[in-house]
């Protein structure tokens, strides 16, 4: 199987290597969709089965992660249909200014100052886990996996505008949670360090 040639110099061996190397990324994405380790494992298995069955549809030189994420997302939607579980896909309005307004409030109540001194990584890991769908998968794709809006829109099968609005709302929710984290971290303090802004 190693040496089955395909277009140009891309071989089946190259395919195996390329897609198998992406399993950690696919698992993270599967976790963002299912939020359950055993469901995520099943989803990764299903993704790889489908990927290997249709390996001829992979275009050499294209982004293997995007291809795998798309397969993963489709497989996930299939399970949803099968399980007849309902996930709200209601998106609401895009809210690009929301984050700025929130940060303005954080400057006023002192949480921005506290956040500046804190390690955000553990709080963010926690916050991502708490995000609801469809915001979580969008944030994972764009902000953690570094996919562009257009790539994420292909993977998720929604228009770019929907990706943006989900992303902005997801980020806003994350920042709300960071604000709480700053409050809890508190340094025994209240809002006294906050300088009025404007």
């Amino acid at each position: 199987m190693e040496t089955v040639p395909r277009s140009g110099t891309f071989t089946r061996g190259d395919f195996d290597k390329e897609v198998l190397a992406r399993m950690d990324d696919v698992y993270r994405f599967a976790m963002s969709l299912t939020r359950d380790t055993s469901q995520a494992e099943d989803l990764v298995q299903e993704t790889y089965l489908r990927a290997f069955r249709s390996w001829q549809t992979f275009q050499p030189g294209s982004d293997a992660r995007r291809w795998l994420f798309t397969i993963c997302r489709n497989a996930f939607l299939r399970t949803l249909e099968r399980d007849r579980r309902n996930i709200s896909l209601d998106d609401g309005d895009p809210d690009a200014l929301g984050a700025v307004m929130l940060h303005g409030q954080m400057l006023q109540d002192g949480s921005a100052d506290r956040l500046a001194k804190l390690d955000l990584a553990p709080a963010l890991a926690d916050a991502i886990a708490k995000l609801n769908e469809p915001f979580r998968s969008t944030v994972i794709l764009v902000d953690v996996e570094g996919q562009a809006y257009e790539e994420a829109s292909e993977v998720l099968g929604v228009p770019i505008g929907t990706v943006r609005s989900r992303l902005f709302r997801g980020r806003r929710q994350l920042q709300e949670m960071l604000r709480e984290y700053a409050r809890d971290a508190g340094f025994g303090g209240n809002a006294s360090t906050g300088k009025p802004h404007e």
């Binding site: 698992y27 976790m31 553990p122 980020r171």
Partner: protein, 85 residues
């Protein structure tokens, strides 16, 4: 809120995410950059947003790692289906 010759604060901030995500045209990027260089109100928001995105981008490491056994499971499924040698 300030109003500078190019963008006003609201329009600059409404484009902040797109700006930081690299999703704007070069002209719009220049307009936002110009506004941030001149506006002391907006700059702290942009700095915070930048740090926030930077930390999020490092969140790969803080996500739960893939179980060590999964890779073997996938490989053996692929083999049993005759999809891999």
């Amino acid at each position: 809120m300030n109003s500078h010759e190019g963008l006003d604060c609201a329009s600059a901030m409404a484009r902040l995410w797109d700006y930081l995500d690299g999703e704007l045209t070069p002209e719009k990027v220049a307009a936002v950059r110009e506004h941030l260089a001149e506006c002391a109100d907006c700059l702290p928001h942009a700095r915070f947003a930048e740090r926030f995105l930077g930390e999020l981008g490092r969140c790969k490491e803080c996500q739960p790692p893939m179980p060590g056994t999964l890779r073997d499971k996938v490989m053996s499924t692929l083999r049993s289906e005759g999809l891999m040698s």
